[in-house]
Structures are given as structure tokens and as C-alpha cells.
């Protein structure tokens, strides 16, 4: 028998038992559906993470008192030691800025602003950020109108600010905010620049920011003390020169800071160097863990589905013992019978796989529509994977029943009632 007539035979046989075939394929359908849905969503999530992080300066080094703790393998934190770590200073930033591998190094400090007023209008939940010249580079900001904070602004503790596009829109509408004033925490600032819109990152608006010279910030806002200083104190943002690898720049910064602080070779760093790359790696670690868990679940349901197929194929072999006998009596070889039943199992599994792929992509699309920040992507390889898995399950779990059918003795099979 050739391939096509065997395929036709399988389809005819399966159609004869429509509901039984469907129920048998259900395990495969659910398994493949899970794989496709999860892979599509995770792929979408990964793409989203990459996209969102590209709004931050992805190569900026955040120099803080402690390293960001993420993902598995977290060690216990010694808060007493962390608390005693020295504060960063504006002079530290200036020293780092002189490194040949560093484009810009600026002090940075921030907090939630109380109220921001302009004439009768108010804006809530805004962020006040103190920085210096070059902070537009390290923060990945683009100045749309006017200018950014300058060295003179910082040295003279000027009451000037640069505002985010969200504040510009909400408090000034169509007006040009540059050269107008804004009241922040009871002080009146002159607006010198407006920033281009950055968009949201994981639902957080980044454009509701008021940026002022760090010196001005420190004049009105005392540095936090004690354990609050671990996170709330002055930090430094450093941007490597174009073409300088991040690792090289980080090594230079580390060496310079150790030098400034006079750390001996056997003393640990009393500061932490953080990058967006770390968050991204941690995020991808989380998604890959999810991936493994979900693929595990899907694998289990595929195995269960496969056992279902094996079970129904064994029933089918028993029911059709006589048919097998007749086929052998007219000249079917063991391998003809084997291939016939194997084909049936594989066709059944592949049909389940096909339905699973369609439903899985459908669910992923549906989730993308319902969940705003998730954009499912079903790359071609997920479809190949779905078909591959179902074919493998069909073959693996179909072999035993097919083997059993092929080994039947023709005369016993024919006499079987």
C-alpha cells in the first residue's frame, strides 16, 4: 500500500469514530494549545521587555550604595554594613566624568514631588529629580524645546527646571512652557526646557518629571539619613563613551571609586554598580523559568494525550482484530499492518496538534487584545514545534499498539469474534 492510500484509510477510519477520535485527540489539543499560547505570550513579553528598556539609556551605569538584588541566588543583606557606606558626592561624579571611557557622569537624586502648581492648575504624583549637566545623556532624555540643566545652573543653584512632556501638556496645553514659571514645593522655578515624550514603561509614566539642578535640590531637600540613605541618597549615573564596552567602563568606574575611597585590595567594594542589563537579564531569567514550568506542564499533558492515543489504538486493534486477519490473509505483511496503525495514531495526533495550534494562537491573540501591555507573537517555529511534538507523540505512543496489531497470527485474528 502506498502512502496516500494509507493516509486516506486512516482518515476514513478516524471519521468513522468522530467523537471518539476527537476525545482521544483532546489531550494533544490541550498540550499543543498550552505550548503555543505560552510560547506566544512569552515571546511577546520578551519583545516588550526589550522594547521598554530601550526607552531607558540601556548602557547607563547606575552607581549606588548597593547592588540591585534580583532573581534567584540572592544573598542575605547586611543592613548595618550598608548603612555605614559613605555617601556619593558631586565631586565623585566629577572625578568619574574625567575617565577616558566615560562620556558623562552626573549626580542624581530624586523623590516624589509634593504639588506642582502653575497659576490655578495643579499636577499630582510627579517626580522631582536633581541632576547636573549631562543628565540628559545618562537619563536618555531628548530636549524638545529650550535647553537642559547647565553647569552654571548647578554652580549657582539656580531655580530653573526642565519638565517632562506629560506636565507640559497638562499644565500648559498648547502654550510654550519655556520661560514660564512653575511652583514646586513652594519654590518658583523658571522653566528652561521641555523634554520629548518617552512613553510608559510597564504602565509607569516617565514623562511626569521635573528636573532641577542637583545643588538646588540639595538646598531645599536635606539628604536622607540612616537606612533611608541606602536608596534615597545621592547616586551617580555614568554613560560610557560610544564604542566602549559596558564591562570596560564598569571596570574603570570601579577602579576609580576604589581609588577615591582608598580601599585596600582585600577590602570589598562599598558601593554597587547597576545597569539596565541586569534587570533585563533578571527579567529574561524569570520568563525562561516560566517557560520551563509551562513547557513542563505542556509536556505532561502531551504525555497524557499520548497515553490516551495509545489506549484508544489498543482498543481499536482489539476491535479490528478480524480486519487485521483478513488483511493478512490477502497478503498484508506485518509491516503493512504496522504502518497502517501507526499512520492512524500519527494522523490522530497531528489533527490534535493542528487544532491545538489554531486554538493556541487564537487564545494568545485574545490575551493580547484583553491585556494592554502584552503583545503576543507566534513565531513560525512555535507552529513547527507544535506539529513536531504531536507527530512525535503519535509515533511514540502509536508504536506499541501498531506492533501488537502487526504481530497477530492471521488465522487467530480471522477467527476472533
Amino acid at each position: 500500500m502506498n502512502f496516500l492510500s494509507l493516509l486516506g484509510l486512516s482518515v476514513v477510519t478516524l471519521r468513522h469514530h468522530k467523537s471518539r477520535s476527537f476525545l482521544t485527540a483532546l489531550g494533544i489539543i490541550i498540550g499543543v494549545m498550552t505550548v503555543i499560547t505560552i510560547l506566544s505570550l512569552l515571546e511577546g513579553l520578551n519583545r516588550k521587555i526589550k522594547e521598554e528598556f530601550s526607552t531607558l539609556g540601556s548602557s547607563t551605569i547606575y552607581i549606588q550604595k548597593m547592588e540591585w538584588q534580583m532573581g534567584p541566588g540572592r544573598h542575605r543583606l547586611d543592613f548595618e554594613e550598608l548603612r555605614k557606606r559613605p555617601n556619593f558626592t558631586v565631586e565623585d561624579a566629577e572625578a568619574l566624568a574625567k575617565l577616558p571611557s566615560i562620556e558623562a557622569a552626573v549626580p542624581s537624586i530624586g523623590k516624589g514631588a509634593g504639588t506642582i502648581k502653575r497659576l490655578g492648575n495643579e499636577a499630582q504624583n510627579c517626580e522631582l529629580k536633581g541632576t547636573a549637566e549631562g543628565g540628559d545623556l545618562t537619563g536618555n532624555w531628548v530636549v524638545e524645546q529650550g535647553r537642559f540643566i547647565t553647569r552654571e545652573d548647578r554652580l549657582h543653584r539656580r531655580l530653573v527646571c526642565v519638565i517632562g512632556s506629560y506636565i507640559a501638556e497638562n499644565l500648559f496645553g498648547a502654550e510654550n512652557p519655556v520661560d514660564q514659571t512653575l511652583d514646586v514645593d513652594g519654590h518658583r522655578y523658571l522653566i528652561v526646557g521641555v523634554l520629548e515624550e518617552k512613553g510608559a514603561m510597564f504602565g509607569n509614566i516617565q514623562d511626569n518629571v521635573v528636573i532641577i539642578p542637583v545643588s538646588t535640590y540639595l538646598k531645599y531637600n536635606p539628604l536622607p539619613r540612616g537606612w533611608r540613605a541606602i536608596w534615597g541618597g545621592l547616586s551617580i549615573e555614568a554613560l560610557p563613551k560610544p564604542g566602549v564596552p559596558l564591562e570596560k567602563a564598569m571596570a574603570d568606574v570601579e577602579e576609580q571609586l576604589r581609588l577615591l575611597r582608598g580601599l585596600r585590595y582585600d577590602q570589598d567594594n562599598d558601593f554597587g554598580l547597576n545597569t539596565q542589563q541586569m534587570i533585563m537579564t533578571a527579567m529574561q531569567g524569570i520568563t525562561s523559568t516560566l517557560w520551563i514550568v509551562m513547557v513542563g506542564i505542556a509536556a505532561i499533558s502531551l504525555i497524557v494525550g499520548g497515553i490516551g492515543i495509545m489506549n484508544i489504538m489498543l482498543v481499536s486493534v482489539a476491535e479490528r482484530t478480524r480486519e487485521i486477519g483478513i488483511r493478512k490473509a490477502v497478503g498484508a505483511r506485518d509491516r503493512d499492518i504496522m504502518i497502517q496503525f501507526l499512520m492512524e495514531a500519527v494522523v490522530l495526533a497531528l489533527l490534535g496538534g493542528l487544532i491545538g495550534i489554531i486554538v493556541g494562537i487564537g487564545i494568545a491573540r485574545l490575551v493580547s487584545v484583553l491585556v494592554e501591555f502584552l503583545d503576543a507573537a507566534s513565531p513560525w517555529w512555535t507552529v513547527v514545534l507544535g506539529f513536531g511534538f504531536s507527530a512525535a507523540v503519535g509515533i511514540f505512543f502509536g508504536i506499541y499498539p501498531a506492533q501488537k496489531a502487526s504481530k497477530l497470527n492471521p488465522i487467530d485474528a480471522i477467527r476472533y469474534e
Binding site: 500500500m1 483478513i326 493478512k328 490473509a329 498484508a332 505483511r333 492471521p410
Partner: protein
């Protein structure tokens, strides 16, 4: 008309003295239960090409077992079976499948047609396993059904056919690959007298065309059609 279906191939090894079937010391022992049952005991038998043999005997005499061994549906425990000079009793399962497919045609009492297939598809089955092309298959099936007088019923399924018609389809199927031997195991056991005569008439005709026909029966009127009768009793040729 039916002349076309005569075997055109020469006899194996080209010798007219070599029987088409030769059994030497053939025994069959069923060893499944607590007691071994010897269904066939030291059978020696020669059947020549063009023969028309009836195998008779009471039930339990081993005639069906003998038939199954002749049809390669079962294998002997001891002894040798030569078909056209080839020792079939040494063949492996693939080789036996080939013999069942091309060298012998088997007709059962129960017809044993596949219920979901039409008459045409049932007759086509041995041709499919022989790897015959679709075009050729169509022609052969048409000829076969015409020969057994069922050309108009070709698209009916077994449950739409009478017993006689089903047996005709089974005969057409048995002859599809033009085998040397036609084996019929109680072919008229389920049929009325009139239909029995029709089926036996068909077998007579096939034998007249030169085909070797072997019929198992316990019915004298069936055995009368044959040129030679072999009586079996308790697994021995009487």
C-alpha cells in the same frame, strides 16, 4: 471470456512431474492448553496443477487446519510443505505474506469481506498489497467482478449484498492476483442449495480454465464437483 484469466505462467521449475503442492510428514500440534492436541498427523499429499480436490471429513478431523496450512494462514509444527517446488514451511512471515498475496487465493465460509469497503475496494485489497498501480488495479477489479457476474453491484458494501453475492466478491478477491491455487474452506456452508450450485458452478468453471481448486467440505453434494476426494479422519488421511 474467462479464458483470459488462465494462469499463463509456466509451472515452477518447468517440470510437469513436480506437483504444485507436496506435503511430506506434515504434523500440526496445538500446545496451548494442558494437553497437546495433534490436529494433523504425518500427512503426505501431492496435488498436481489443474487438480480439483475435495477435502472431506467430520468436524475435528483436521480438514480446516490442513486448509489453513495450505493457505499459509498457519504453519505446520513438523514436516515440509512444498508449493511449486519451494519449501514454504521454511518461509518467514514476510515471505508467507507474499505467498498469501500472489500464490494462493483463499475463500472462507464467512466470506470475510471488510464491511466498510465496497465490493470493488474489497477486490482491490490484494492488488494494493501487491503494489499494483491504480490504473491497472481498476482494470483487474472490473474484470474480476465481471467474471463472477457482479459488475453491477461493484459499489455495494457487504451488508447490501446477499450471501451468494458476498461469496462471489470473495472469490473475485481471491483471484485478483491470479494465484496458482484457489482454496475454499466450506465456501457454501452459509448458502442455500440453489446458491450453492451457482458458487460450485463458478468453481467448476475456474477449474476448467486450468486453475487448481481445493475445497474443504463435509457436504457430499459439494464433494461431487471435485475430481478427487481426500478423506481425513482424526488428523490422518483415511
Amino acid at each position: 471470456m474467462a479464458k483470459k484469466f488462465r494462469r499463463s505462467k509456466g509451472q515452477g521449475k518447468g517440470s510437469n512431474h513436480e506437483p504444485v503442492i507436496r506435503l511430506q510428514g506434515l504434523s500440526k500440534v496445538y500446545d496451548g492448553g494442558p494437553v497437546a492436541v495433534e490436529a494433523l498427523k504425518n500427512i503426505n499429499l501431492e496435488i498436481y496443477e489443474g487438480g480439483y480436490v475435495a477435502i472431506m471429513g467430520p468436524s475435528g478431523s483436521g480438514k480446516s487446519t490442513l486448509m489453513h496450512i495450505l493457505g499459509c494462514l498457519d504453519v505446520p509444527t513438523y514436516g515440509s510443505y512444498f508449493l511449486k517446488g519451494q519449501e514454504i514451511s521454511r518461509y518467514d512471515s514476510d515471505q508467507l505474506a507474499r505467498v498469501r498475496n500472489r500464490e494462493v487465493g483463499f475463500v472462507f465460509q464467512q466470506y470475510n469481506l471488510l464491511p466498510r469497503l465496497t465490493a470493488t475496494q474489497n477486490v482491490e485489497l490484494p492488488l494494493q498489497y501487491a503494489g499494483v498501480s491504480v490504473d491497472r488495479r481498476e482494470k483487474v477489479v472490473e474484470k474480476m467482478l465481471e467474471m463472477v457476474g457482479l459488475a453491477e453491484r461493484s459499489h455495494h458494501r457487504p451488508n447490501e449484498l446477499s450471501g451468494g453475492e458476498s461469496q462471489r466478491v470473495a472469490i473475485a478477491r481471491a483471484l485478483a492476483n491470479d494465484p496458482a491455487i484457489l482454496l475454499a474452506d466450506e465456501p457454501t456452508g452459509n448458502l442455500d442449495t440453489k446458491t450453492e450450485e451457482e458458487i460450485m458452478g463458478l468453481l467448476d468453471e475456474l477449474n476448467e480454465q486450468g486453475r487448481t481448486v481445493i475445497v474443504v467440505t463435509h457436504d457430499d453434494s459439494v464433494a461431487l464437483h471435485a475430481k478427487r476426494t481426500i478423506n481425513l479422519l482424526d488428523g490422518r488421511i483415511a
